[in-house]
């Protein structure tokens, strides 16, 4: 357990921001692993087996969590609004990255992700966030390749639309985009 717990912990923390939830997920993973150790046939690696248990456990926890129906501009904190404004002018992308800004971005990401279904959250986090391949996700979840692709497509669309909705609040957003592009 000492050997694998950091890995399980890091994997679970991709899906939950609260430490208590990450610990709950990691604990459940090891309890399942201990009780189902007999079912591990040793064909694959122990890491792969644990990753699969972790994925399913995180998915179950995401499913039991309350899902936000929609994220509106009024839900954003001042920091998040500023972050989006800065992002539009390309100030926050590569240039002025600070840990504080990363925290705001991470928080905003978690809030946008909460508007997606648990399955979509899982797939988009792994593929677009972690740069995992579709085949990797197939291995982790046990789903078919087409199911993973459909979830990824749907999640990207939903996430993009949610962000567009937040960006569109400013009538001059197009102007700021144009200026950011001309400066590049």
């Amino acid at each position: 357990m000492r050997r694998y717990s950091p890995r399980v912990f890091r994997f679970a923390s991709k899906f939950f921001r609260q430490r208590s939830l990450v610990e709950e997920a990691a604990q459940e993973v090891f309890l399942k692993a201990f009780t189902e150790l007999g079912s591990f046939e040793g064909r694959g690696s122990m890491e792969g087996w644990l990753t699969r248990i972790t994925t399913n456990t995180c998915l179950n926890l995401l499913r039991s969590a309350k899902r936000r129906p929609e994220l509106t501009v009024s839900d954003l904190t001042e920091d998040e609004t500023n972050w989006l404004d800065n992002k539009l002018t390309a100030a926050a992308t590569e240039q002025h990255q600070s840990s504080e800004r990363s925290l705001v971005a991470s928080d905003l990401a978690a809030r946008v992700l909460q508007t997606l279904t648990p399955d979509d959250q899982l797939v988009i986090t792994l593929i677009d966030g972690e740069e995992a391949s579709v085949k990797d996700v197939v291995k982790m979840t046990g789903w078919s390749e087409s199911k993973v692709k459909v979830h990824a497509f749907r999640a990207r669309r939903r996430m993009r639309k949610a962000i567009e909705k937040l960006l569109i609040r400013e009538p001059g957003w197009n102007k700021s985009l144009a200026s950011s592009r001309s400066s590049e």
Partner: protein, 163 residues
């Protein structure tokens, strides 16, 4: 590609996996199409947010292993008690039925015969209220055999002698 909307392209493929040609085509198209420009910008922000989110990682606390082992022990204990519970329930039912049987037998053995004993003196006390003549006369009625005068006299004198 210049006249084709790029929304499908950015939804089907992760931005990180787009080829150089794809990116050039997107660049060319978004210069003319504001809808696709907005979609592309939102997609870029989306990927950036996801990467920031993925970069945030937590490490296990030093007590995590101890806590998991304690939870495992607790779960095993709960499972064991769950396994034994039907047996305990069956044993409880058996014990209670045995107690009920013993109680019934005790009632039948001690209380009901006691009632019979108690009814004995009542009968005798009732019979004491009758005189010897009445008893003899009643007996003679029941037996339908008339008692002789000598028997009657003997009984009366014996009674008086006892008093």
């Amino acid at each position: 590609m210049r006249n084709e909307h790029i929304i499908n392209l950015i939804e089907n493929t992760p931005l990180a996996s787009l080829s150089h040609d794809d990116l050039v085509a997107i660049q060319a198209h978004t210069e003319q199409c504001s809808d696709c420009l907005r979609a592309f910008q939102a997609a870029q922000i989306s990927v950036f947010l996801l990467k920031e989110r993925a970069a945030e990682q937590l490490e296990p606390s030093p007590f995590f292993n101890t806590r998991v082992l304690a939870a495992l022990r607790e779960r095993q204990t709960a499972n064991q008690s769950w396994t034994w519970s039907p047996l305990w329930r069956a044993a409880g039912a058996l014990a209670s039925s045995m107690v009920a049987t013993v109680a019934t037998l005790a009632v039948l053995t001690f209380i009901i015969p006691g009632n019979q004993v108690a009814s004995g003196p009542q009968i005798s006390s009732l019979s004491n209220s009758y005189s010897a003549e009445e008893v003899l006369l009643n007996q003679s009625e029941q037996l339908s055999e008339p008692a002789s005068d000598a028997q009657v006299l003997n009984t009366i004198y014996e009674e008086e002698a006892v008093r």
